[in-house]
């Protein structure tokens, strides 16, 4: 099965860290990525720009509305994701628990809805 591991954390905390710290964290992320590539779980991943760079788009009554920032104000923001292939949820949870951000933020593990196009 495919699972999307969504990484949530308080992005303001990250911005307050000294450069040496963020460099160390990035190193941990790269190591993790390499490890799940080696184990064959890795399908894809990206880090996202912080929420001030976000734009929310919706169409209501046929009219386009474009607003600044994410849809909802929350304490933790979506900051990136890993898409992984795992045989079951227990395996996906094991992988998610090794994402460095699990130690300061939280990881939401969502199964991907497999849509078969006719």
């Amino acid at each position: 099965m495919k699972y999307l591991c969504l990484i949530y954390s308080d992005e303001t905390q990250w911005q307050k860290l000294p450069e040496a710290e963020t460099g160390k964290m990035m190193g941990e992320f790269f190591n993790f990525t390499d490890s799940i590539k080696a184990s064959g779980h890795y399908l894809g991943s990206n880090r996202l720009q912080p929420t001030p760079a976000a734009t929310t788009v919706r169409i209501r009554d046929g009219k386009l509305s474009t607003t600044d920032g994410p849809f909802a104000e929350t304490r933790e923001q979506l900051g990136g994701y890993y898409l992984v292939e795992a045989p079951d949820l227990n395996d996906a949870i094991r992988i998610a628990s090794k994402i460095p951000a699990a130690r300061y933020g939280s990881i939401e593990v969502r199964p991907v809805w497999e849509v078969v196009r006719p």
Partner: protein, 417 residues
């Protein structure tokens, strides 16, 4: 002639259903990979038994017969339905080819299936309410109506929880597995917690007219026995011991009218000696492992009470020592409160009252009726009647069970004379 035979065989089928239907279901879920498919297969297997056993005789191994009949019926059913759905053809072929016959009937595998079922029903990715409902439905075989009655909710609510839990198991890919050795301690803690919740809801319901709901406690003890049989870890034994020791006092805990009788007032001749002995033996076994935890310690406390022929003979020093150990493993104000009550018994009510006032002053148990009624009781024994009345009144405002409320009202009345 078949009529004459049919009746006793019907009774045999009923007996096999009671003793084996959950094991058969657990194996069918593994073989078919789906809860709903397995339940349907279980139903069809028993329907076939009612039809065929009178004619062909009861098979030598009824459980194995039911598993292979259920599996065959499920695959056959998929094939018939597959005329309308190509995906089902593939599923039926896969199910048919994937299992060797000896794997299906391997007795060790079948025992493991029951553990797989318990761990799947108590998976941490399921909401707590669903874990409870699913465990009672699938592992214990209770109907949704019985579960709803036990938890004072409506049957459709329970049914919905179960449907949603099964959907999550399927959609999120929750595997039908006993957790790996690394995950086992944490996952076992969760299973024990679910069993303990079932027991507690039967032993000390959170609300309602009656003080206990016997059926749920019995189910929890049955689950505890099953776990001890399948996974004899010290804390598993400790939990079963705790449940047995508490349950052994059931007959003495309330009057015929349903009024509360406190431990020191209980008629100890009503205690169930057989269960006490079983519980005490399990506690000793768990303690000797030196790997015990909070359930074993609580059971040990209950065992010390069980040893005392009269309330006055209770070894309070030993009980306080066990509470100290319990507090080392988990800081809990409720445990502190119980320890304070034991200190009051050993060192007098004033010493206990100081401890309870400390806990209440920290604000942690301010809304817990038993903290106020314990305080009231100690004040009463010290002759501080006005304080006792105030604390009983506060307890009465907070208590939700009718028998407890009657008990507190009685105490308040006694103090106003």
């Amino acid at each position: 002639m078949s009529e004459v035979i049919a009746e006793p065989i019907r009774a045999v089928v009923d007996t096999v259903y009671r003793t084996d239907s959950r094991r058969v279901l657990a194996t069918l879920i593994r073989l078919l990979g789906d809860f709903d498919l397995a339940e349907e297969a279980l139903h069809e297997a028993f329907a076939a038994a009612v039809e065929r056993w009178p004619r062909d005789g009861v098979p030598a191994n009824p459980r194995a017969w039911l598993v292979s009949t259920g599996r065959f019926k499920a695959i056959d059913g998929l094939r018939r339905r597959s005329r309308f759905d190509a995906a089902l053809v593939e599923l039926a072929d896969r199910l048919d080819a994937s299992r060797e016959p000896d794997m299906i009937l391997d007795p060790e595998g079948i025992e493991d299936d029951r553990l797989r079922l318990i761990f799947t029903c108590c998976h941490p990715a399921l909401p707590p309410d669903s874990q409870l409902a699913l465990t009672l439905r699938e592992v214990c075989g209770l109907t949704t109506e019985a579960i709803a009655r036990a938890f004072l909710t409506k049957a459709p609510t329970v049914a919905q929880r179960i449907v949603r839990a099964k959907a999550k198991i399927r959609d999120a890919g929750i595997p039908y597995q006993v957790p790996s050795r690394a995950d086992l301690p944490e996952r076992l803690t969760l299973v024990l917690h679910v069993v303990y919740l079932v027991f507690n809801e039967g032993y000390a319901p959170s609300s309602g007219e009656s003080l206990t709901r016997h059926d749920l406690s019995e189910e929890a003890i049955r689950l505890g026995r099953l776990l001890v049989e399948l996974l004899p870890e010290p804390e598993v034994m400790g939990l079963l011991a705790l449940m047995l020791l508490h349950e052994s006092r059931r007959a003495a805990r309330s009057t015929e009218l349903g009024d509360v009788v406190l431990l020191d007032q209980q008629d100890r001749s009503l205690w169930d000696r057989e269960r006490m002995a079983e519980g005490t033996a399990l506690v000793e076994q768990a303690l000797s492992s030196r790997r015990f935890g909070p359930y074993t310690l609580q059971a040990a406390i209950a065992a010390v009470h069980a040893e005392a022929a009269r309330a006055a003979d209770t070894d309070w020093a030993q009980i306080i020592g066990l509470y100290d150990l319990l507090l080392e493993s988990e800081q809990s104000p409720v445990v502190e409160l119980n320890r304070a009550a034991a200190v009051a018994m050993r060192d007098g009510p004033a010493a206990g009252l100081d401890l309870i006032d400390d806990i209440l002053n920290r604000g942690e148990l301010a809304d817990y009726h038993l903290a106020h009624s314990a305080r009231a009781d100690l004040c009463r024994r010290l002759g501080r009647n006005q304080e006792a009345r105030d604390s009983y009144r506060r307890a009465l405002e907070l208590a939700r069970l009718d028998p407890e409320r009657r008990f507190l009202e009685r105490r308040l009345n006694e103090l106003s004379h």
